[in-house]
């Protein structure tokens, strides 16, 4: 019997699907081959100690904490998928209603002049709102850019000023120390 074959049987042994005959084969082989016997003992020690690791107790209050977690999350988390679904469907409904209004309702109304006027007024309002929004967006971004540049300039100037002041102080100090020494001498 080859050692390689025994190695396969050893793995089967730890898989737990080994026949009595195969077990016998391992034992017989191990009597003759000390190398495999040692290998087997080492394996057995390792696996046994692993499966004998004790079950530890779940901390008290675990269930309560989990239930609390479930309840708070249920309360505060709006499901993002559901929210997106509702937003898209409401938007779709608005677009759909608008199209129905413009293409199916207006043409079939005899005195459609007022309706078309209303439609135009609505479009006008929409344009105003969107232009204001656009304006705001652009102004804000430009302003932000300017503020950032201003900050950089100020920072640079500030740093230069502080450096100059510090240098001046050092210079004055050195000068004073020097003149003091001269006096002492």
């Amino acid at each position: 019997m080859q050692c390689k074959e025994i190695n396969r049987l050893i793995m089967k042994y730890f898989d737990g699907n080994i026949s009595e005959l195969e077990k016998e084969m391992i034992i017989k082989h191990n009597d003759r081959c000390s190398c495999c016997a040692e290998e087997f003992t080492l394996f057995k020690e390792a696996i046994d100690s692993l499966s004998e690791l004790p079950e530890i107790e779940v901390p008290t209050g675990f269930v309560l904490r989990v239930m609390e977690g479930i309840r708070t999350r249920e309360k505060y988390s709006a499901n993002p998928k559901a929210a997106a679904f509702w937003l898209v469907s409401i938007f779709g409904l608005i677009v759909f209603g608008w199209n129905i209004f413009v293409f199916s309702v207006i043409p079939f109304v005899k005195e459609s002049g007022t309706l078309i006027a209303v439609n135009n007024v609505l479009i006008y309002g929409f344009n105003i709102i969107s232009s204001v929004l656009r304006e705001v967006l652009i102004t804000v971004s430009v302003l932000l850019g300017k503020i950032l540049i201003l900050r950089n300039v100020l920072l640079r100037d500030y740093v230069t000023a502080v450096t100059l002041i510090v240098l001046a102080f050092t210079g004055i100090n050195l000068f004073l120390i020097n003149s003091r020494r001269l006096q002492e001498n």
Binding site: F43, L50, E55, P59, F62, V66, M67, R73
Partner: protein
């Protein structure tokens, strides 16, 4: 109707909107989930965090539970996935393994108890050194006593991969333990000098 509700009955109750029904399921599986997480993470604090998160995730995805599988299989699947995620995240910072305070066995003398604790610590240290993926298989098979089929369901791997990983994992564990014992002996020898 039986006195003890089956898992699927409880799941259906939860899906019908009864949050409190879930408590029974937690009660039923907290031990398995917590112990698996503990052996995967190596310390109680993280084990508790992970198992709490696992149960919350289970509750939130109950509608996706497939009754074809046992509930415990699904629970362990979520738990091990969470463990692997957390282990990947913590790779940078290493977390110490718990100091040892296992259950006492009244029959043991203090010496026996010490030896038993030491060997337990040795094994836990050794499995913590294995790559996460291999540790997962070892724990599921030899500690939680899952079958091949169940491990395939939990990990979503094929039978060949499960067999291979287990084979490799056992080899690694053996090597790791041998190294540790050697180190210990050397240490003892140095101590005696």
């Amino acid at each position: 109707m039986s006195l003890i509700a089956s898992d699927i009955e409880i799941v259906n109750q939860c899906l019908a909107g009864d949050v409190n029904a879930f408590e029974a399921l937690i009660e039923r599986y907290k031990r398995a989930v917590y112990n698996t997480a503990y052996r995967m993470m190596g310390n109680r604090e993280e084990a508790e965090d992970v198992s709490q998160e696992a149960f919350i995730r289970m509750y939130n995805s109950l509608s996706r539970y497939n009754p074809e599988y046992k509930f415990i299989t699904w629970a362990l699947k979520i738990t091990t996935n969470l463990c692997l995620d957390n282990l990947r995240k913590r790779k940078a910072e290493t977390v110490p393994i718990d100091e040892w305070f296992e259950i006492k066995d009244e029959k043991d003398t203090p010496e026996e108890e010490y030896i038993r604790k030491e060997s337990q610590r040795l094994v836990q240290d050794a499995i913590m050194k294995l790559p996460d993926k291999y540790r997962e298989f070892l724990i599921l098979f030899h500690h939680r006593n899952l079958s091949y089929q169940e491990i395939m369901d939990v990990t979503g791997e094929s039978l060949t991969i499960v067999k291979n990983r287990l084979y490799r994992a056992r080899q690694m564990l053996k090597e790791e333990l041998i190294n540790r014992k050697k180190e210990r002996i050397e240490y003892a020898v140095q101590g005696n000098k």
